[in-house]
Subunit: 342 residues, 2 copies
């Protein structure tokens, strides 16, 4: 090959954009291909949703501090989250696991126990898969199949100027959980006899090791009679996802730093690490919360919910994407989320 | 963990059996889960089919002799084959690629060019995926979505005593292609200046590096008005697949060695390597042909086709699975196919 473009220069989204250019469509049943949280397929009286996500050892997880059961659970959850982000429900998954001989049957059974637990709690059928070997690491790819009524589907696009931007739960916790685990890993490496300092961080550790997906929110909004006009799940950090929504909807946005929901444990841990809690929330990743827009007329229906918070609104595209800091200055919103190839 | 059961003792199918035991089903729309070539989901007036397969560097392919474009093509084909084995057609795929930094954008584009080529020829939409990094190797997982009319679906089970067993194309070619490539790799390692000996083996190399899936057969049988009573694709070798069919259908089988279709190039290469051509056909793997059963009354419809050959028939389960050798002795059929964990 004569040209060589490094992947780290492109980043994951640049790579996806490049690869998408050469993809063709042959079937009318393909409603939406690459470019949203899940692909959308017309199967008659409803849409099916398909999404896939891979977790790679030592890239997405470290087995020094990740229990195998939690790993299986998380591998399922990250996929469920993509289906909920389309306002749909998950029905089936297929699981592909590639492992080396250093894993025993019992280890694989632990991973499956976690997957099965997630399937039980979220009511999902594990319907197939593939097991193969690797020379070293562990790789899990799960593909989730969901469904949604045709008039209920929500895309990344679809938002309009002045509509409200809402996030669920709180942000930055999974990222701070990861910082704690990485710190304790280093401590352990230097002195295996040392007891890990894990007091008062249960919640943020769980957010990292065993996250949940917001099926409850999809159900709740449905009950309230609120249909999000655009939606995405927060896996790479709030800033990155906001920019995805703005790009898909041909819009700009304004959000307010002081409105970004951050849990007390996240806040404390960020301070301990000399990090800005808001920066952790904006760029941390792995939160698996939902970010969506609603019509202003729907505000009254959601305003009392402890599970969601309005953080800003869409504006005209020309105004760009910005964040209003606590001192009232306006800063351009930038994604400093994960670049898997750097 | 107190117990440790080695994966190599179980093998891939033993592992799948073990893991399947703890899987539960929550949705009536899940018609068939683990245990066939693809999962079957009821979506209203038809069935959707879902299958997934992973190719791992240095386990399933070696980049010393695998062009990246062919690798992408093959990664798609192995999944298409599973959908055709359900008598269905492929509609969509999602692609997950995990690579290290040693791969450039141009390398990934080559892989995608191969996937896109397969999608074009087989009329399949690439609708999504995931790209992530690894510390070293390349892992490709593709999930294929297909569909089939409810009255056309064919499972591994469903065959009956005395029904005819039919294979398409010819067997053992991909395995012999692999032997040639491995031999030339060793020669190259010892003396990089040496020209590879690849004359007269074009066909078997292509069968290994760029296999096709038998969409044509599904269409052809449909045109002939023949519905297979049971079917599987031949990915792990004829013997292994026959045993799967017998197990699924609660049947035994008799096949005739002299009837197993082997191409002349495969035969010649096997002889050159001092291998028995029939053994290569029985256990070679990666042929991606179809093995199916038909009613005896359908024999006249298929007997003149150059694309398929009757190799035996189902018998009572108690009679077991056997192969009649060329000297007319009967031998028990044994799967010596790939054990990915050994």
């Amino acid at each position: 090959m004569e040209n060589r473009t490094e992947l780290e220069k492109l980043g994951e989204f640049g790579l996806i954009d490049k690869l998408s250019q050469s993809v063709k469509k042959y079937h009318d049943s393909t409603i939406k291909g690459i470019g949203d949280d899940a692909a959308v397929i017309d199967v008659g009286d409803k849409f099916m949703l398909v999404t896939t996500d891979t977790l790679v050892e030592n890239i997405h997880f470290n087995l020094m501090y990740t229990p195998l059961m939690h790993l299986g659970y998380k591998a399922a959850i990250v996929n469920f989250s993509d289906i909920y982000a389309m306002n749909g429900d998950v029905r089936q998954i297929v699981v592909s696991i590639a492992v080396s001989n250093r894993f025993s049957l019992e280890a694989i059974e632990e991973i499956y126990a976690g997957i099965n637990k997630a399937c039980e709690l979220y009511q999902v059928d594990l319907v197939g898969g593939d097991t193969s070997s690797t020379l070293s690491g562990l790789v899990i790819t799960i593909t989730a199949i969901g469904e949604v009524a045709k008039n209920e589907i929500t895309y990344r696009s679809g938002g309009k100027e002045n509509e409200l931007l809402v996030v669920t739960g709180n942000l930055g916790a999974a990222f701070m959980g990861l910082q704690i685990l990485e710190r304790e890993k280093e401590v352990y490496k230097e002195n295996p006899a040392m007891q890990p300092e894990l007091e008062g961080v249960d919640y943020i550790l769980e957010r990292q090791l065993k996250p949940e997906a917001r099926k409850d929110i999809v159900h709740f909004l449905h009950t309230l009679g609120v249909k999000p006009t655009s939606m995405i799940d927060i896996s790479d950090g709030l800033a990155s996802e906001l920019l995805h929504l703005c790009k898909a909807g041909d819009l700009g946005c304004v959000i307010y730093d002081e409105k970004i929901p951050v849990d007390q444990e996240t806040f404390n841990a960020a301070r301990e690490f000399n990090l800005d809690p808001s920066t952790c929330a904006l760029n941390g990743g792995e939160d698996y919360e939902l970010l969506f827009s609603i019509k202003q007329t729907d505000y009254d229906k959601i305003k009392d919910s402890p599970h969601m918070k309005v953080i800003g609104h869409y504006v005209d595209k020309a105004a760009g994407a910005s964040i209003i800091a606590r001192d009232n200055t306006s800063l351009p919103l930038q994604a400093q989320g994960w670049n898997h190839f750097s």
